[in-house]
């Protein structure tokens, strides 16, 4: 067995070194392109998913979210819960939010959505919305009569450019009228417009906690949700477990649990596209390698007959072709790996711009290994089939070429 492999390797190396170099280099190039293709799309999809995850944590949920128990609308004694939560090990910061249904009007444009109140200083510690101000400024604790809105709410003068209903292209400094569901109507000056590129966040409007108390007419110690930032080096799961062990009665969810349903369908769709691309790439690899090895074995048919005639077992001959395709596969994958690394570096510097944000390539080591193994299996199949077909021919038939 070992002798057989040794002879097969001996023949394979010499056939590769001394046969047409152009053909071998072209085959290696094709494999590297197939490997790049297999990884590239999945890495763009991986980058998009990574972007969605980042946006969810940075702009939408933070690491952990506390919500009222089922069938209860508000978390009461919100301030004491926030104090309690911030003392829990693993928790860095916590910030409550309170929503009140409203309709926002500017000239003839009207949209209905809840206006959210937060403590601006606390909010800065749990999300990064303040870093995404497209124009104007973020709120401060003292702000009264001012509102910040997302880019999709501000919209465009040319409404055909809007994804959603908007205020028709309002700018910082413009005044809008907000009619709250409690009957209070106020004019607000737009203090700033943020653009996170996350559609869930960019269709939100925020006012300060003090302003909301003013709208309600009483001190507010209720919230709809409390966003929790965890400390670096901890996992959300661990911190959630600790929070529950500290007796938090409300519903506690990690961002993954909260957003899971939100992105499941998108991820599933991406996965289907990715799987189809992967299968197509593998079929291309098998067909290309099969054709190349078929041509090579047909060209070497006489030589295969001679090898059999002088006493070299057909299994050794088949193995030698399989080893050749394996070497070609390994070299192709290695070059493909280098191309991917270069692309990652390039797209890190110049991300792909999508409406939902800038996407860099995100490659999971597992996918890279899986693709390499699949491609190597494809190489083995593509090397084995034509070689075994020729090697099994009668010696004299093969020797006649």
């Amino acid at each position: 067995m070992l002798t057989d492999i040794k002879i097969a390797y001996f023949l394979a190396i010499r056939m590769l070194r001394r046969s047409s170099k152009t053909g071998t280099i072209l085959t290696i190039f094709i494999i590297s392109m197939v490997f790049t293709n297999m990884i590239f799309l999945s890495s763009v999809i991986g980058g998009s998913i990574e972007l969605m995850n980042e946006q969810t944590v940075d702009y939408y949920i933070s690491n952990i979210i506390i919500k009222p128990k089922e069938d209860i609308r508000y978390i009461d004694n919100s301030s004491s819960l926030v104090s309690k939560v911030t003392r829990i090990p693993g928790v860095a910061h916590a910030s409550p939010r309170f929503e009140l249904g409203a309709s926002l009007n500017h000239k003839s444009n009207e949209i209905a959505l809840p206006v959210i109140a937060f403590y601006p200083d606390d909010e800065k510690l749990v999300t990064k919305i303040h870093e995404t101000m497209k124009e104007g400024h973020f709120l401060t604790r003292e702000d009264r009569g001012q509102i910040i809105i997302g880019n999709y709410i501000a919209g465009n003068v040319d409404e055909s450019k809007d994804f959603f209903e908007s205020l028709g292209g309002v700018k910082t400094g413009d005044s809008i009228t907000v009619s709250f569901v409690n009957g209070v109507t106020r004019d607000y000056r737009i203090k700033g417009i943020f653009q996170t590129k996350s559609y869930q966040t960019d269709y939100k409007a925020f006012i300060s906690w003090n302003e909301m108390e003013n709208v309600l007419g009483y001190p507010l110690d209720q919230s709809n949700e409390i966003l929790v930032k965890t400390k670096t080096g901890t996992t959300e799961k661990e911190v959630k477990k600790t929070m529950l062990s500290y007796g938090i009665q409300e519903e506690v969810k990690t961002w993954k649990e909260q957003a899971g349903g939100l992105f499941d369908e998108s991820i599933e769709s991406f996965q289907i596209i990715n799987d189809i691309t992967l299968i197509v790439s593998l079929i291309i690899a098998i067909v290309v390698l099969f054709i190349i090895i078929m041509i090579k074995t047909l060209h070497n048919k006489r030589e295969i007959g001679v090898l059999k005639a002088i006493g070299i077992d057909e299994d050794i001959i088949i193995q030698s072709y399989v080893i050749q395709t394996l070497i070609i596969g390994i070299l192709g994958i290695t070059i493909g790996f280098c191309i991917i690394q270069t692309l990652i570096a390039y797209f890190l510097a110049y991300p792909i711009v999508f409406p939902d944000g800038n996407v860099s390539l995100y490659v999971e080591t597992g996918i890279m290994i899986e693709s390499a193994i699949l491609l190597l299996i494809a190489s083995i199949i593509a090397g084995y089939l034509p070689a075994s077909r020729i090697a099994k021919e009668e010696i004299l038939t093969a020797m006649r070429g």
């Binding site: 002798t3 001394r18 005639a309 002088i310 006493g311 009668e394």
Partner: protein, 224 residues
Amino acid sequence: MAVISVKDLCRVYKLGKVDVHALNGVTLEITEGEFVGIMGPSGSGKSTLLYQMSLLDRPTSGSVLIQGRDVGGLTDHQRTRFRLNHCGYVFQDYALVPELTTEENVFLLPMAQGKPDTESIEQSREILGKVGLSNRLSHLPRELSGGEQQRVAIARAMVNKPDIIFADEPCANLDSVNSKRILELFKELNEENGQTIVMISHEDEDIEYFDRVIRIFDGKNREG
């Protein structure tokens, strides 16, 4: 003692709907250490007979015994091992592996027998020295003349010290000087090592090198 024993050997090829009887009941014996020439006109069945005796083809009927063993019942794998260990081959068009150097073409056989590399190299160099190619070890077949390529093929056939060497018109593509050299080499190796050599030839002048000639006409043999 008969090293090859052929009895009632028939080989029928299908050519479309026509049956071509290439061998028609050949019976013969070749004894150990003989240098036998197989001669006959084109299409008489010489090569077909050689292929049956050398296990490169299977007869339609009849039997081939080598060293008293009926080789008809061997599996493909067993036949390959048998050829590797007991037979040497020299073909008309040299049949060297184009990607292997002179030394590698010869070295391949002891290596396939599982001999250690040092022993295989030593054996290959020794036999290549005997055929006068010590200075061509690292040349590829395409870098050698026809005569040199045929000497590599002979070295390859001899390297494992097989019991029988089968040569299918080894001088057909060579000029008269090289042909003479090759035949002398065969004769020398036959006398020196006592190996049985079965060679097909077209040329009457080759007869002087053979111990015996088997003539084939229309698929049947006739001693001559």
